[in-house]
Subunit: 442 residues, 2 copies
Amino acid sequence: MSDTERKRVSTEPYKGVRDFYPEDWAVQNHIWKACRVAVERFGFEEYNASPLEPSELYKSKTSEEIVNEQTYTFTDRGEREVTLRPEMTPTVARMIAAKRKTLYFPVRWYSIGNMFRYERPQKGRLREHYQLNVDIFGIAGIEGETEAITVAYEIMRGFGMDDKSFEIRINSRKVMNYIIGTLLGQSGEAARKTAGLIDRRAKMEKEAFSAVLSEHLGEKDALLLTLLDSKNFEEFISHLPKEKELETALAELKVLTEALSALGITNVVFDQTLMRGFDYYTGIVFEVFDKHPGNIRSLFGGGRYDNLLDTFGVERVPTVGFAMGDVTIRDVLQTYDLLPKVLPPPAELYLSAMEREYTEYVNDLAQILRRDGTRVVVDYSDGKIATKIKNADRARIPFFAVIGEIEKTSGQIKVKNLGTGKEAVLTEGNIAQFIHNANAAN
Amino acid sequence: MSDTERKRVSTEPYKGVRDFYPEDWAVQNHIWKACRVAVERFGFEEYNASPLEPSELYKSKTSEEIVNEQTYTFTDRGEREVTLRPEMTPTVARMIAAKRKTLYFPVRWYSIGNMFRYERPQKGRLREHYQLNVDIFGIAGIEGETEAITVAYEIMRGFGMDDKSFEIRINSRKVMNYIIGTLLGQSGEAARKTAGLIDRRAKMEKEAFSAVLSEHLGEKDALLLTLLDSKNFEEFISHLPKEKELETALAELKVLTEALSALGITNVVFDQTLMRGFDYYTGIVFEVFDKHPGNIRSLFGGGRYDNLLDTFGVERVPTVGFAMGDVTIRDVLQTYDLLPKVLPPPAELYLSAMEREYTEYVNDLAQILRRDGTRVVVDYSDGKIATKIKNADRARIPFFAVIGEIEKTSGQIKVKNLGTGKEAVLTEGNIAQFIHNANAAN
C-alpha cells in the first residue's frame, strides 16, 4: 500500500471529548485556580488517583446495569474488569479506607480530575468532564456542613459571583427520610419513587404532579403536598409532628442557617424538594443555584454521606463533601461575563535578531533574562523590523526588542511597549526589572 | 443478600496504577512546577486533550499488534475503537493538523498529562505514568533544536541538578540514515535491524556485538564498527566520505554544539549510538543522561520529527520536541536528594475555640484571615489546649491560637509559633500580616 493510497487519519478528537487548545486550557486554569485558592485557605490538601479503577468499586453502590450502560467498562487481558471513573467519591473513599489507620483526622482533601461517562454527546453532557471534589472526613457535627458550604460560597465569591446572583439551597435527608419512611410509611422501591417525584416537582406542572403523587401515595398525598407547598421553613415545620428524632434533624438545619448567616452568608434558603442521590446522603444536602432570570439552574452541590466506607467493611468516618463540574461553571461564568477577556500572553518580551549573526547574542540575552524570571520568546526569523513587530503583536507579547550591531556593541537595548508605543533604552541588566515594574503598574 | 453477606470491596487501586495521597501528589507538584517555570520562561503555552483517542491515531504509525498488545484499546457501544493514549505526540500532531490554518507559527506548546500502557507491572514500568511534552512547531532551522535542548537543560537546572551530574547526548538521524542507507546499502527491515543493533550496542558485550553485526552486515561490518568505535566527533567524521548531503547534516551537529556551548551548556556529547525511535525522527535526536556512577541511564529525550503531520495528509510543519516521564525523574531527584524534605503544611494557622460557644467567633475570625490570604484550619474539637497544640503539630501547622472569653472580649489574640515556642499578642487585623512576615523571614 503506497503512501497516497493510505487512508488519511482524521484530526477530530474522539466523540464527546474536548481538545483543549491553549485558549481553552487557560479558561480551565482560570476556573481551577480560583478553586485552589479558596480551598487551600481552608487547609485542604490535593490528592489524585488514576482514572482506571476496578469495576467492583462502582458495582457496590450502583446497580449492575448502570455500571455497564453509563460507564466505560472493559475487561483487560488479565481478565480484570476496569472502569474509567465516572465520579471521584468512590475513589477517595477507597483511599481513605485503605489508610484510615495512619491518617490524622479530620482530613481535608480536594482533587481536580477528569471523569468519564458513556453518554450520548449533547450540550453540557460530555463523555469526559473535569470536576473539583472537596471532602472533609472526620467531623460528625454540623461544623462540617458549615465549613463545606462556606468553602462552596468562597469559591463562588472567588469567581466574582455576586451574592444576589446565586443561592445555596439546603435540605436534610434525615427529615425527608422521616417524612417518607415514618409519616408516609414507605420503604425500598416505593420510597425511592417518592423521592424521585419530590425531586422532579419543580419541573412538572402542578396538576400533573398532584395526579402522579395521588396515584403513587393514595390518600397520603395531601400531607406531602402540604409540606411541599410550604412557603418557608417555619411553615414547613408547622405541619410536622413534635418528635425527638425529627426535631433534632430540623434543629440542624436551623443551626446551619444561623452559623452561615453569622459568617455573612445570607443567600441560603431551605428547599424541601432538594433530594440529590437517594442512596447516597445521610444528613444535610445542599446545592448552589444560579438565579439568572429565565435560567435558574443547579450549579453544583453535595452533603453529608457518613456511610461512605461501608462498602469496604470498615468502621464509618463521618464525611461532608461536594463536587463541581467544569462545564456548568464555565457556562455560568460566561453568562455573568466573569471569564478573562484576553488570553494571558505567552511571554513578556519578544526578542529578535536584526541579522542571523546576532542570534547567539540574542539567545544569550534571552537566557539571562529568563533566569531573572522574565518570560522571553525569541524570534529566529529573517523578517524586517515592521514584520517582527506585527508578529509580536499577533503572538500577544507586550514588549519588543531587536538586536543589531549597535545594541550588541553598546549593550544598550531599546525596549518597546507595544501597547503604549513608548520606548526605553536599557542595559541588559535593567530589562528584567523594567518589565517587572511595568507589569506591576498594570 | 444481607449487608454482612455482601462481598467487601477491596481498597487496592487497579493493578499497575498509583494512588496519589497528598504527600505523593506534593512530589508530583514539585516536579511539574519546576518544569512549568522553565518552559513558560521560553513562552510555551499549555494545552491538553482527553486520554481517550480514536485507535486509528496510533495504527497509522505503529503496527497493529503494538496498538492491540501494548495499549488499552476497546470498542465502545457505537462500534468505535478507542485507545487510552500511550503517548502525547500523536494527539498534539492531530491538534496542530486540525488548526494549522489559523495557528500562528512558530507555536510553542507544552502539556503535562497521564499516559497509559498495557504492561506487566514492574519497577518503573507502570500502566499509567505522567509525562511532560514540549514541542516547537514551525522552526525548520537548528535554532529549533538549540531552543528545545536549552529548555531541557534549564529544566534539569531548575530541579537543582549539577552540570556534572548529567549530560546531553546528541546524534543526527540524517547522518545515521546516510550511513545505514547509502554506505551500508540497507533499507526497510534490514535497516531497521541495523538501527536496533546500534541502539543496543552499549548493553552488549563487545564480542557478542561484533558477531551479531558481522552476521547481519557481512563484510560491511568493519566500516560500521570503526564508526561506532570512534572516540569523538572528529574521529567519527574522519571515517566518513566528503559528500554534500552528509556534510550538511554533520555541520548541523557542530553548529548545535557550538550554539549550546555559547549559552554555557557544555555537558553536550556526540553519541553515534543514540538512535531513538527508528520511524519517528528526521534530524537531530538528543537524550539527557544521568551520570551517576554505577547507574548511568537515559532520563528523557527527543528530537526533530518534521514528518509528524504526514498521517493526516496535510502539508508538513517542522517540529522539534521532547517528552519527560515522572517515574524516572522522581527516582533521579531522590538519588541526588533534590526532593523537598518535608511536605508543605496544609495551612499556616491552627485556630481553635476554648469552648464550643466560641466557634462562631472562631469561624468569623478564620473567614477574615482567609480573605486576607492566610490559610487557616479550624479545630472544632472539645479537647484541652495541650491536646489541641499536639493536634496542630501532627497536622504540620506552624502557628497556633485558641479563642476563649478573654480573646473574644478584648480582640487580643495570642498567636504561638509552634516551631520557636514564641508567642505574640495581636489584634485580629494584625494576624495575617504577622504570619506573612514570619513566613517571609524563613
